[in-house]
Subunit: 886 residues, 2 copies
């Protein structure tokens, strides 16, 4: 309901601010979450279903919104409506609020549109004072229960509404037990509790200078207002920010008659799931506590019994309860998380909601429910958060293990790993290969030369760099855990140690990292290995049936390609040839090529690289068995390959047969201020055409050798990076075509191939119509396109992007989820203009966003052909692509 | 005429390939440059005007174009049309081509649409062979003349058509003179020349294996084809590339009857300008040579006499000639560059064209012609190349001075300067201030910390960086000569020397740089100081009347602001506050602010900077006298201000009262991979709001103090840089507004002000509608917008941008002239979307492009309000803005 219609209705008649539920009828229903909050809507719905719900009413979220816009004032008509609703509850329960004979007790709870567990405040047993407590004692014949309820109420109300810290009360309770020389609360007598009530009230008066409210209506309004206030408490604010919940939603307040699980041994309280939320097994799962109030279960003060033991102690109630479970699951068509109370052998339902569950359970429940014909395959697919699948693919920390977190960085690549700390890629390799040690590679930041060390390590930890830093991207590609940008770390390469706060960790000390949370921990912490269930495969096969977008992978090593195939990749969307050049043997030839000062010098060095590149492609083509393989020609600034150390320089000089001085001068010449915007991508192809020519030759020769075997075909897709001008592509396509013609003639085979380009600069997106004249496909390089469209280098964004999220300037790191209204507009423009020139233009996305569900939905909407993502993201993308269709 | 209509017409009837001009009538006219070339069209026009033009005809440029598309074949009908036209010439002249009695001689010349002086080939005296030479001797009674013409013809034809190198013939000529023991060609007798003819022909036969063509028609077709071939010779290709002349234009061929200035002492040849092309003075200006052929004047073999001496020797012809001058100038309404020949006291006009002139002459001629009522003010304005005005504003090298060029870099900032070489900003300052020496600051590249040294130096030379590198931009701003990106230089700071090729230059050695050409020269070379003429001021005042775009300047120092005011700037469009922080006193406070690890630490340091900033603004506001001043808040990455040396680090640590270790760690933390895409611009304002708050306070306090004086008003325009998200601006505008309110309250004055933003990221351009909700003005930062739209850092583009120009991928360096179809589209989108939100949105451009005429025309077309450029570009922009309207 908009503010406008709200005002209009006000002028017509009093707006409905309060919704009752009682006796199998309710004003609201389960669809009214926005107005009544999740809890209020659920209670209304359960009540309508005829389930035993303690009568009550809900004050709408709009009252909360108005409360804040009107300077914390409640609407005039609210007290009348609450009084009316309360009268209905009194009538239904047969008790009166504040009555000296038969008093009605109430609970007051918050309930927002989205669940915010534990974030806001609740008051129970409201309506007790010296008079009603006495009446309760008399009515229940249980004085101890009455005064225990009373002292609990004072404690809770004082904490939540009056803001008197609860430790005061806990202290007094402990003191009382010490005085009585007893251990357990339950050993306190009614008399003890009465004394405590007096002492509590005295304490409140002392702290506040006014006495604890005896008037039950004052209690009620204090509690209602406290719930509204709790919407803006720091805990709630933080939770909302972390979970993207707008402040403007507000919370509802549900006031409900109390039922008691602690009135005796025919009473109990419990929580239950209709299926196992951890494994998904189709079996009731829960706990209950005899003679206890709900908060005891939640707080873990006493240890509850498993639900399996209930038939033995309360067989009738158990039967009734499981009937309710089945009814609720059938009604909601999803696994339910239920709270119940048994008062004098009568079952009361306090809450039901869709249960939270692990990724494994989510998959199993969804698949089971399809097989039970409860939901459709499409519904099953929609129920799984694609990102949660990551949990199923990577080792995770044993949730029961103890841990000492020494710092937290960015959760850059999921999974957990432990190992000995090493500080260089060389040490990582040596320790891992020679000594068979598990190691964690710790670097200030990583560079392409560290890749062999990253391969050797169990996980990677860096002090600098964001979610799409080199370390993060490469680690995700490898499926290795990585924590990046742990800015508190001080790494001293010389001393081979790292400091985090007061901890000093030396080379060889063991740490554990959790790439799913960003935590870095001392010592070895047990991990749980993943295995893919048949349910998982079933679900993925349904996703594959439904999706339109193809899913490819970003891979260049045989290992990555194999993993991706196993995860269902339908081709390679991005093979970054530069990653193939960091091998120790190749890097020398590569450096020789770079420092060469003539075309001949470069060609000589390239001739050494050609057979290696050819073999790379032969291997990849074999693994991909005829699936499309998109190969990007050399992209990064040459200086990434430069020799750094004196040793490197000498080695290159010797290999190239030139002086150390020349190598050093050339290395100096190639240094750039902003390499991301420098001499890279197809600019290398234009200035040093012999490089691209060698690469094209390697690709075509590899294809020729596979084709000649006659078993399968290869249709390489050659991709030119960083095009900004249509003519760049025109020139380089001609070079590729010429090379193809030469190889085909030499080898006597016909090779089909495509030449396309990355669209990764704003200018390329704008000039897509002209570029499509040469390009047979577009691949949107959304990492670079984000960098240029937003003017943010992914390597340097960590220093401010968190502040941007906190201040609400960006909702998400734009390198994690596509900036749809900026970068997205350019992609749409390019897609539209490109298609105008070439209606059958193949288009895909190959940035990090290719594995992000929201970005995948955008790709579907924009009509792209495929997404390409790192191997471990392939299942995520398959599921997200199916959801994008639904 | 398109190829299509061409083919169509061919099928209808023979296409007209040849245009005659003869006897006061011609097929073509002066408007047909595209078809007949400049020379052909001009001859046709002169002929129509009734001027004495030797009869002839022109073969069209379309024949040339066809020649290349048809694989160097000439159209079938051409020979018939040439024969017809030739017959007309024969009839008009009364001589026959190849005739044994009265032979017609011809010249064959190229002539493209645009003048390409000396780039293509010409053949004179065509039609001579042993028979016709004899006839010529007889007819003229001048055997020596006839055989001199013959040997010249053989030499020229062999060189141009037969490709026998001319040095052979020069060698033989010299030998002949040595044999005869004479010095001058004119001392050779007819007999000597006859012998030379035979020897020349023998040489040709020896070189080619075939004899020199005696057949005059073979000679003619050989020459025609040679002209067409010359369109693609390397010289012509280079010239076209440098002058942006498309290959597809082709050249025409003009065949014309010969007239001779070398038939005796009643003959002469000459060139003349109708006004002085160097000063613009309204006085005939030229040279002539008695008894000589035109090529002798051009080649400078003999020294010609000034035109002033002609009345004494040929009074009648002189009178006739000046009448022609006046007629031509009146006809073409511009100063003419004329070639003429006098044959036996008869004047023949060979060529006229608008004369090339210096910038000073261009201004004077244009202004004079307006005063003479020959042209309108608008025409006067259109005639001046705005960029040429640079010549008038900067010292230039004395064109007569000898020079040794040791290397050539980019012409980064115009003007010439000489001085002693220094390698550090400190040395520059010390030498210049303490020793009153003129110095040239030589750096590998400059950074903001070098600015004081750049101020002290006469000129700046760098080994790295493009046309918009730091050195280039700052030097242009200061109006100082700069040569940047001289990549051949090897600068050794340690040895204090630089090497260029074989030259080694040590500190203290004198060099001269020419920032207009990029040349670096040994020693001191005389320069000419500029002065602005009253004509210049007159012309600029007309430009000001006509233009719509306002012209502001980019300035932050009082000196720059004053220079810009003198050049007519109408406000400051970009005051870069960061440039104000490099002063030695301020940099310490700035560094203290940067290394501070708390808000309090930063505030303490900022408090030291506040009074300095306030004074800066007071000064600027005073100089600008109420004109608008746009102040950009801090923009560059903080690391630009970081301490570099150990000394710096110690100083900052002491000043901030923190440890050296902390300063070093912080400096390390702030280092970025790609600072251009890093933590800069408004990202600093968001993360460290206290910085922008201090700057806003300094601005408002300065404005308040001026306003309080009551003499004039100040309306500061505060500009937030690097906005990518509407919310960034929203937050920072609120901060500025809050600060303004505080200052107004404290000072008790009302300050009008505007808050706007730079549009310098593609995303900002796309989201301009939302950004305009907070922004009261947009300033297009086209430097950064070019960097991000094209993905090129201006600091790193030098390594490939030349290759891009050579391969025709870009026409112009996009940092020099706006990339209209890429960056320009984003500007158009932003302007349109911004105006939709706020119809009175003020919009300007403040990148380097603000001083580029083509970019200014784009700004006019896009409807911007103003352009802002460096002070020395202000006159250029004023003129270009007027031209953009016309």
């Amino acid at each position: 309901m908009s503010a406008q219609t709200n005002i209009q209705r006000k002028s017509d008649m009093a707006e409905k601010l309060v919704y009752s539920f009682a006796g199998g009828a309710s004003d609201g229903d389960g669809t009214m979450r926005n107005l009544l909050g999740g809890k209020g809507a659920n209670l209304a719905e359960m009540c309508s279903l005829g389930l035993p719900v303690p009568p009550g009413f809900t004050i709408t979220t709009e009252v909360c919104v108005g409360y804040y816009t009107e300077g914390k004032k409640l609407p005039a008509d609210l007290s009348r409506q609450v009084a009316e609703a309360l009268a209905k509850v009194e009538k239904d329960v047969g008790a009166k609020f504040g009555d000296a004979e038969n008093p009605l007790l109430l609970s007051v709870r918050s309930g927002a549109r989205a669940s915010m567990p534990g974030m806001m405040d609740t008051v129970l047993n409201l309506g007790l004072n010296d008079v009603t407590a006495k009446a309760l004692a008399k009515k229940t014949g249980n004085e101890r229960f009455a005064y225990d309820s009373y002292r609990r109420f004072i404690q809770m109300y004082s904490d939540v509404v009056l803001e008197v810290d609860h430790y005061h009360f806990e202290e007094m309770l402990e003191q009382k037990k010490r005085d009585r020389d007893i251990e357990l609360d339950t050993e306190l007598t009614a008399e003890d509790l009465k004394e405590l009530v007096s002492e509590y009230k005295a304490k409140v008066a002392e702290e506040l200078g006014t006495s604890f409210p005896d008037d039950v209506n004052a209690q009620l309004w204090g509690a209602i207002q406290a719930v509204f206030n709790s919407w803006m408490n720091p805990r709630a604010n933080t939770y909302r920010r972390l979970h993207d919940i707008p402040e403007s939603w507000g919370t509802a307040v549900t006031v409900q008659s109390m039922v008691f699980g602690n009135m005796g041994n025919d009473c109990a309280t419990g929580v239950a799931f209709t299926r196992n939320p951890s494994t998904g097994e189709h079996k009731y799962y829960g706990e209950f506590l005899i003679n206890a109030q709900g908060e005891d279960v939640v707080a873990g003060i006493r240890t509850p019994q498993p639900l399996e033991e209930m038939p033995a102690v309360m067989p009738d109630v158990y039967k009734q309860l499981t009937a309710v479970f089945d009814k609720l699951e059938a009604h909601y068509r999803d696994m339910q998380d239920i709270e119940f109370t048994i008062q004098n052998n009568k079952l009361w339902m306090l809450q039901t909601r869709n249960g939270k569950r692990t990724a494994a359970a989510a998959v199993k429940i969804a698949v089971d429910m399809v097989q039970e014909k409860v939901i459709t395959k499409a519904e099953a697919i929609k129920r799984i958060d694609p990102l949660s699948l990551d949990q199923l693919l990577h080792p995770t920390l044993d949730p029961k293990a103890q841990k000492t977190v020494i710092t937290t960085g960015l959760p850059a690549s999921p999974g957990a790993a432990s190992g000995k700390v090493v500080f260089t890629a060389e040490d990582a390799e040596a320790m891992a290969l020679d000594h068979k040690e598990k190691v964690i590679l710790v670097r200030i930041e990583t560079s392409p030369e560290d890749i062999h060390g990253m391969h050797a390590a169990q996980g990677i930890l860096t002090a600098r760099g964001g979610m799409t830093s080199h370390a993060a991207v490469v680690a995700r590609g490898m499926g290795k855990p990585c924590v990046s940008g742990a800015g508190d770390l001080r790494i001293d390469y010389a001393k081979k140690e790292l400091k985090a706060g007061s901890h000093t960790i030396k080379e060889g000390d063991i740490i554990t990292i959790n790439g799913g949370t960003g935590e870095v921990m001392l010592g070895l912490i047990a991990t749980v290995q993943p295995k893919l269930s048949s349910d998982f495969n079933e679900l993925m096969s349904w996703a594959d049936e439904m999706r339109v977008l193809k899913v490819r992978t970003n891979a260049e090593t045989p290992l990555d390609a194999e993993v991706a195939r196993r995860f269902g990749a339908e081709g390679i969307g991005l093979c970054r040839t530069e990653h193939m050049f960091f091998d120790s043997e190749r890097i020398i030839a590569m450096r020789e090529m770079i420092v060469a000062q003539s075309v001949e010098g470069r060609k000589a060095a390239l001739a050494k690289l050609l057979p290696m590149q050819r073999n790379d492609f032969v291997e990849l083509f074999r693994i991909m068995h005829g699936l499309p393989v998109t190969i990007r020609l050399l992209d990064p600034p040459l200086h990434e390959f430069l020799p750094h150390t004196e040793e490197d320089i000498k080695q290159v000089a010797a290999s190239a047969g030139i002086s150390v001085e020349v190598v050093r001068h050339r290395a100096h010449e190639l240094k750039e201020q902003n390499p991301m915007l420098g001499h890279r991508g197809c600019r290398l192809g234009i200035t040093y055409p012999e490089i691209y020519e060698m690469q094209a030759r390697a690709i075509f020769e590899a294809a020729a050798s596979i084709i000649k075997e006659g078993k399968e075909n290869v249709i390489p897709e050659i991709m030119i990076p960083l095009v900004m001008m249509p003519k760049e592509l025109e020139i380089l396509k001609a070079l590729v075509d010429k090379t193809a013609a030469e190889v085909m003639k030499e080898k006597g085979v016909k090779i089909e191939y495509m030449v396309g380009t990355m669209i990764e600069l704003p200018r390329a997106a704008l000039r897509a119509a002209e570029i499509a004249e040469s390009a047979e496909f577009f691949s949107f390089g959304t990492n670079d396109l984000t960098q240029t469209t937003l003017g943010i280098s992914r390597d340097d964004s960590a220093s401010f992007i968190e502040a941007y999220k906190k201040q609400g300037i960006v909702e998400q790191d734009p390198f994690v989820s596509l900036d749809q209204s900026g970068v997205g507009e350019l992609i749409s423009i390019a897609a539209e203009r490109g298609r105008k020139t070439r209606s059958d233009l193949k288009m895909g996305i190959c940035g990090e966003h290719g594995g992000d569900p929201a970005s995948i939905a955008f790709c579907q909407k924009t009509g792209l052909t495929y997404v390409s993502c790192s191997p471990y993201r392939v299942p995520v993308a398959r599921l997200a692509a199916a959801q994008a269709v639904l």
